[in-house]
């Protein structure tokens, strides 16, 4: 038993290059800033709504969070934007990381307490909770880190759980008849794009797609046992799935796409500072060569 537990823990904290962690941090925190400004601008307007529209989530009630008002929402917006941009640089990962986590958690309560809860960001929230514990990391840093490995692993687990457990939810709420139901027809009639809407007329296609979605969601955990090359293909498949969903219904799942980068060898993006230093060095050497050549000639 303890041997299994040891192996499971070793897998859970498998070391990754710090450079990968540094890049993931930048991607995740830059996304938070972009989310505030571009992807979910509607959250900010909740501060303007009358108080009786506020239906606080359980977490908001437990924490006795105040009813969002204009000034409160504006304060969280600007503090969070500043903290996220600062955290994206990788500096003070613990302090800035926890600051972003706490503020974004409050932001989520403001977002989801007005009659609609989104399910596209569980893995991103896990990443935000784990990143402050992952220790320092820089883009060119080749040192391998187990703290960083855990942060990336739990993000991956949460991303895959989002698929697997949404299959579970379909069986819980829809039952096995979900597979042959008119759910995708319903989705496309309500929010189909010009590309998606015509699909409701193709006989059998949407039922086949429902079987496909259920199979993919139930099989998604296999991504963890695939050899590395296949694992990357699996992740590419996840991205392709979201691209199809977006093209047909404009449902984007962007936070999930960000969380999925935890599977990628981000350290290959390199070290921008070192690249610049290298370029300068090469340019200097060439200049010296030219000068030397003229002197010799």
């Amino acid at each position: 038993m303890s041997e299994h537990l040891g192996r499971a823990t070793a897998w859970l904290t498998e070391a990754v290059p710090r450079a990968r962690l540094a890049w993931f941090r930048t991607v995740a925190y830059l996304f938070i800033a972009a989310d505030l400004v571009w992807f979910t601008p509607w959250v900010r307007h909740h501060g303007q709504l009358p108080a009786d529209f506020y239906r606080p989530l359980l977490v908001g009630r437990l924490a006795h969070l105040p009813i969002p008002t204009g000034p409160l929402v504006e304060a969280v917006y600007w503090l969070l934007l500043t903290a996220a941009l600062a955290a994206a640089t990788g500096r003070a990962p613990r302090l800035l990381g926890w600051t972003v986590f706490v503020l974004y958690a409050e932001w989520m309560v403001v977002a989801m307490s007005y009659g609609k809860v989104d399910h596209d960001r569980f893995a991103l929230l896990v990443a935000l909770a784990a990143l402050p514990t992952a220790g320092p990391a820089a883009y060119g840093d080749r040192i391998r880190t187990e703290r960083g490995g855990w942060a990336l692993r739990v993000t991956q687990l949460a991303a895959v759980a989002t698929y697997f457990l949404s299959a579970w939810a379909k069986l819980r709420f829809g039952g096995p008849q979900w597979l042959t139901s008119a759910t995708l027809t319903w989705a496309l009639l309500r929010r189909g794009t010009p590309l998606g809407q015509p699909l409701t007329d193709v006989p059998g296609l949407l039922v086949a797609a429902q079987f496909g979605i259920m199979a993919f969601e139930l099989l998604s955990p296999l991504v963890f046992v695939l050899p590395r090359r296949w694992r990357h293909l699996g992740v590419a498949f996840f991205y392709a799935f979201h691209l199809c969903v977006f093209a047909t219904t404009t449902i984007s799942f962007i936070p999930q796409l960000v969380a999925l980068t935890s599977f990628l060898p981000l350290e290959r993006l390199g070290d921008p500072r070192r690249r610049r230093a290298l370029r300068l060095e090469v340019a200097g050497e060439r200049a010296r060569e030219r000068a030397g050549g003229r002197a010799a000639g």
């Binding site: 880190t145 759980a161 008849q177």
Partner: protein, 146 residues
């Protein structure tokens, strides 16, 4: 140092945190609701829509003092359609609360003609054998005038 290793207690702590998170998420999936966010069930499109049940498509129509009638979108008000659907019972019981949409619109469009009407209309698309027949009927659920 070429390796950033965890202490045994750091490892145990992370294992425990992972297990607690997993248990909460599993519990939310099995018995929770949206209220348990972020640990609630991932229930997007999880209901089984019947092959012959009409499909509801909700829209918010506005008329301004210039007589223009159009569909108020999230871009107009900053409020998502799903949120209005989520609080539809609230609006049908007290249509006066739709004034919140009007003021949200006016805040974002200062100087635009004022709104004289807001209506929440549900379009019921007829569906047979899983395919839309193209027929529908519109049902007005709430009307607001200033």
């Amino acid at each position: 140092m070429s390796h950033d290793t965890l202490s045994p207690s750091g490892r145990r702590l992370r294992l425990a945190a992972t297990l607690i998170g997993a248990v909460l998420l599993l519990a939310g999936t099995i018995a929770g609701t949206d209220d348990d966010f972020p640990f609630g069930p991932f229930s997007m499109y999880a209901s089984a829509q019947r092959l012959d049940a009409p499909v509801a498509d909700t829209r918010i129509e506005a008329v301004d003092t210039g007589g223009r009638r159009w569909i108020l979108t999230q871009t107009d008000t900053g409020i998502r359609r799903a949120e209005i659907e989520g609080q539809l019972d609230h609006f049908t019981a007290r249509p006066a609360t739709l004034s919140a949409l009007a003021s949200a619109y006016e805040r974002r469009h200062p100087g635009a003609p004022a709104l004289t009407t807001i209506e929440i209309v549900v379009r019921w698309h007829e569906v047979r054998g899983g395919h839309p027949t193209g027929r529908y009927n519109d049902q007005t659920r709430a009307v607001w005038h200033p």
